[in-house]
Symmetry: C2
Subunit: 346 residues, 2 copies
């Protein structure tokens, strides 16, 4: 990493954008110039990078001149409008929105799982959905060793995945409820939909809008993105995505049916050597992953590893990771690092 | 229900005991005399029944003289010591603890599912575990119509299931965290174990102690009790039991594989006509069960009903119920009603 780069962060004032800037700094990414961008509403604000204030500029096509890498986290609409503009001006876009994830021309990349795919980009690389990333990091070593026939997963997703306003709503409604008051929710489960439900001391079995098959868009992301990342259109995924009153850290109860039979000690073996995975599994001393402990950590934590009681090839896992880091900002910066190291810039 | 009965509630000052007394009153159970009982520590306190204060007496063998029905909810140790004493003195015991659930001589009863089994008692009837009750109520109509091969279930369990002190801990630690403070947990996940984890804005993948197979006792209850209640030792159950920061109302993401193929409209049909079940499933208007809405309701709510994307006999459900009512107090009183109506007293 000798070359020094101009790096844009689009959505720099949002929850994930801020984490992207922090991660660039913490990982000592070779940034010559940081260009924080946001909508006109937030332009003029400033962000801190390496101890200095950097002014946020408006995200618009001309702003991408001279940018080498553009990390986008400003929603699908902005990505659809501006990613091609950035790419046309020579930047490689790493996009955290859902805009291009299922585009066959766009690689969908988790570096520990399919890093090589990133090098086949045509200017845009997609960052998968948070709930998918942590699951495939945990499952990839099992997939490689034993094969995977199917996955049944229930999620316990943190509120920060729905943005900073949703976190404020969690805090406000929880505080009110503790003093015996109630106020109607306005953001969760989906801010753009008409009906809202309070997340305070509650769980919401809806993340994103519903599709015709009864699954939500979030659930279908887990189905389709897992297939694309593992490059296996046969793999069966059954998700139930649920929001819980946790600020940061998604948890997942994952049931897997392998193709080949396995011994539990070999599952431990492959997971303990897997990149990006930390095995935290000691029932005797009550050690298992929990969101409160994984906040701020970049790895994917796996525990409660146990053989199914009935199915001979059934395996159960409990997978937890920081949804803003490995689920978003950290994964995006890892992709940028991979491009630098392997000559994937333009 | 003409005969008027003497009804003891053991553990009368606890969370479930109080709900039992409320339920006896609300359901107009034919109580002539209510005998609230508790440990010597709580004896002398009083509880309210039909607008009057009733003094709590110490739970001890002689106190059961003349008692027709004794509802126990004071933990397995108390049940083991006192249930046989109560039964010996002519009471029918309905026990909410785990003490006798797997005893082949003791019926394990959910009235909507296997009510008839109650009549075969020898003085003691067991009330199943809360997480099992709501699942079997939702699955029984599906089991009867299509058969069930296997169940994979992830739970989102409320803190009140761990008792009043655990609820206090949730409240206190949440309040502290909102003001930026932390204090170590002392109760959850299992008060008698050495390690405690804060439930505030967190989820705990442990309910009850671990067994050698890597599953918790709570999870094994779901396996074994489901088999006993459905009288089907072949049925495969894979549970992951998780505590979430909710006060009351357990939620469950349930995947079922039926034996016979099914049409989704027939699943709706059998569920809509099933006793004790309320179907709440309208994605277009964002209607689905949530713990905040089911508190205080005696039914089991089912939503997010959808066909699996891969397995032709796979069915997904989201099941929510008040863990203190149908999961405990209400189910116990229903059993008492069944005994009165069908001549099951001694």
């Amino acid at each position: 990493m000798t070359e020094e780069l101009t790096v844009a962060v689009v959505g720099a004032t949002g929850a994930v954008g801020r984490k992207m800037i922090e991660t660039l700094e913490a990982r000592r990414f070779p940034v010559k110039t940081l260009v924080p961008m946001a909508s006109s509403r937030s332009a003029g604000k400033s962000v801190t990078f390496r101890g200095e204030n950097v002014t946020v500029v408006e995200a618009q096509p001309e702003a991408f001149k001279g940018v080498d890498i553009a990390l986008f986290s400003a929603g699908a609409k902005t990505s659809r409008a501006l990613s091609p503009e950035a790419a046309r001006r020579g930047a490689v876009v790493i996009d955290n929105s859902s805009a291009f994830r299922m585009d066959p021309e766009v690689p969908l990349v988790v570096p520990e799982v399919n890093g090589r795919a990133a090098l086949g980009h045509h200017g845009i690389i997609a960052n998968p959905n948070c709930s998918t990333i942590q699951m495939v990091v945990a499952l990839k070593p099992i997939y490689d060793r034993f094969g995977i026939e199917r996955i049944i997963v229930s999620t316990y997703q943190a509120v920060s995945g729905a943005g900073a306003r949703a976190v404020e709503e969690l805090m406000t409604l929880t505080r009110l409820q503790l003093s015996g008051e109630k106020r109607p929710a306005e953001i969760l489960p989906v801010s753009s939909l008409p009906v809202h439900h309070s997340i305070a001391f509650n769980v919401l079995p809806q993340i994103d809008v519903f599709e015709d098959n009864g699954f939500t868009k979030e659930e279908m992301k887990m189905v389709n993105e897992t297939r694309k990342i593992l490059d296996d259109p046969e793999i069966l995924v059954t998700p139930t995505c649920v929001r819980v009153p946790v600020v940061t850290g998604h948890s997942e109860a994952v049931y897997v049916e392998t193709k080949e039979p396995f011994e539990l000690e070999d599952v431990y073996g492959v997971l303990e050597h897997a990149p990006g995975v930390v095995v935290l599994d000691d029932p005797a001393s009550q050690k298992y992953p929990m969101p409160a402990d994984t906040e701020g950590r970049p790895e994917v934590f796996v525990g409660r590893i146990r053989k199914d009681l009935g199915h001979p090839r059934g395996l159960n896992l409990w997978v937890v990771s920081d949804n803003l880091l490995k689920g978003a900002a950290y994964n995006a910066v890892q992709i940028a690092e991979l491009l630098v190291e392997q000559g994937g810039l333009r």
